[in-house]
Every structure is written in C-alpha cells, then in structure tokens.
C-alpha cells in the first residue's frame, strides 16, 4: 500500500462520516414501537400445527419398525428357506403333564398319544419281583382274578388306606 492509497482511504472515511444520517431520537423509536401490535397469545405446547405431523411421522416410524421385525427381509427369508424345518422326533419330546382331553391332539409319532386305552390281560403281565414298601406293608401284588391285569397296593385284600384328615 502506497502513501497515496492511505490518503485515499482517509478521504473515503471522512466522506462516509459526513454523509451518514444521524441516529433516530428516543421519541422517534417510541413512536415506532407504539405502532407495533402486541404479540398474539402463545399456543399451548404441543398443539401447534406441527404436532399432528410429528405424531404421524412417529406412528409411521413405529409401524415400519414393526413390519421390519415381523416380516423377514428378503435375504433373511432366503437363508431360512434352505430346507424343510426340522421336526423333533417323538423320542426327543418329553410331555411332563398334559390334560387327557388334549393328549390325542399332540402330533407326536404316527399314532395318537393316548389312542385306545388297551389294558394288558392277566396272562400278558409277568411280575418278576415285588418288594415291600419300607414305610409300610403295601406290597404291590398282581391281581389275576379277572380278565385284565391290575396291580393292587395290597393285593385287593387290605382295606383302603385311611382318608387324610382335612
């Protein structure tokens, strides 16, 4: 920058100061403020025009997420579709307790779970060994008096055990 350039800048600054309008007075500002209308009362929070839009967007996001979770995407479906689902063998399933009405509805093995309630005949059961109950004389005995086999806790000779006291 040359000395001439510095002089030019000084003259430009002087001209700017000389030509700038004065600041408005306090009275002028008061008049302007008097013409500005008072602000409208503020709308309740969340009830603005954007509320429904945000709500709709959130619902759409949740619905999309649910669809993504429930419906397998293409590549996943292809991975699961490689062959028939493995089914447990009947021998691999343990039914710990079931209502008898539902037993035949269980698809385990080729036959219904309960099926016919065939009872072994007296000739078909062979008792190899029967031991006394160490807690009392309740030796199991095979009853052969009828056509079917029944093992009785006292061979049918004893009286029924006492009923439990309520």
């Amino acid at each position: 920058m040359t000395p001439d350039d510095v002089d030019d800048l000084r003259q430009l600054a002087d001209l700017y100061r000389q030509t700038s309008p004065p600041e408005p007075s306090e009275a002028a500002w008061a008049e302007v403020f008097a013409r500005v209308p008072s602000p409208a009362p503020r709308a309740p929070r969340g009830a603005g025009w954007w509320g429904p839009i945000v709500g709709a967007a959130a619902l759409a996001a949740v619905a999309s997420l649910a669809l993504l979770v429930r419906a397998p995407a293409g590549p996943l479906a292809a991975a699961d579709d490689e062959g028939p689902w493995e089914v447990a063998l009947a021998s691999e399933v343990q039914i710990l307790r079931s209502g008898t009405d539902d037993a035949d509805r269980l698809a385990l093995g080729p036959r219904p779970q309960m099926g016919e309630f065939a009872v072994a005949t007296a000739e078909e059961i062979v008792v190899v060994k029967a031991e006394d109950n160490p807690d009392g004389e309740t030796t199991p005995t095979l009853d052969t008096g009828g056509p079917l086999s029944v093992i009785d806790w006292a061979g049918g000779r004893g009286d029924p055990p006492p009923r439990p006291t309520p």
Binding site: Q94, S149, V150
Partner: protein, 149 residues
Amino acid sequence: MIAGPCLMMLLALGCGEKAKEARKVRVFFVVTIATEKGDKIDDKLKDIATEVQRMRPALKGFKLASISCKSLAIDAADLFDVIDEQKAKIVIEKAADKAGRVQLRVKPPKMGEITYSTPCGKFLPILTPIRTEQGDQIIIAIRVQPCGK
C-alpha cells in the same frame, strides 16, 4: 483329503445316535382318579373300572386326570408326577425283545417296588394307596411303546 475321514466319522456318530435312540422306550403314564362319589366313568376307563370295582366295589366314578410321556433309555430312571408332588420312579430294565415285551421297574409312591414284563402298547393299571384331599383314590396306568419301531 480330510473330508473323507470326517464324513465317515459323522456317519458313524449318526448311526450310533440312531442305535441309541432305538434303545429308548417311550413310557406313557396316566393318572386316574377313582371316587366313591358319583358314577361317571370315562369311556377309556371302562375296562379298568370293571376290574377295579371287582376289588373295590365302593369305587364308582373313574376320571382321567393327566398323562405324561417320556422316552427312557435303558437303565435310566425317571420320575413321573402322580399328585401333590408325589412321584413314581420308572426304570426300563430290558428293551423290547423279539416278542415285543419290555421289562420295567416301577416304584409308585407309598408302595413297594415292582418289576414286571409287559407287552408293548398296553396299559397296566396300578391301584395305589394314595388319596386326594377329597378322599378319592389314585390309580396310575403305565404303557410302553413303540418298542423298537
């Protein structure tokens, strides 16, 4: 090079597993309630009811309560629920022979242990000394199958 021996090993393991499965016996365990009150008899229990009533004429009603079903390996004991935390222990001693008979050992609650052989697919009822809170008597019935198939 390695695939051949590995395949042979996998096949051997698979066959071993099948042989082991074949030696399992499926045990059905049915709990029945016999009562002196009421005379309703479940259709499936008519034959049993006739036999039991011959020994206990006072028992008039027979109702199936529950079933359970487990596959047992030979000599492996397992417990079956009877009632009120009481359980019966069953051990398969011998898998089905050529005649389709299985030997098993049963220890019902409050009874001595009994070892017997039975044909596959048929129930053996056991009249137990166990009673319900209402005083009804508990009968358990045990069936084994499919016996080597």
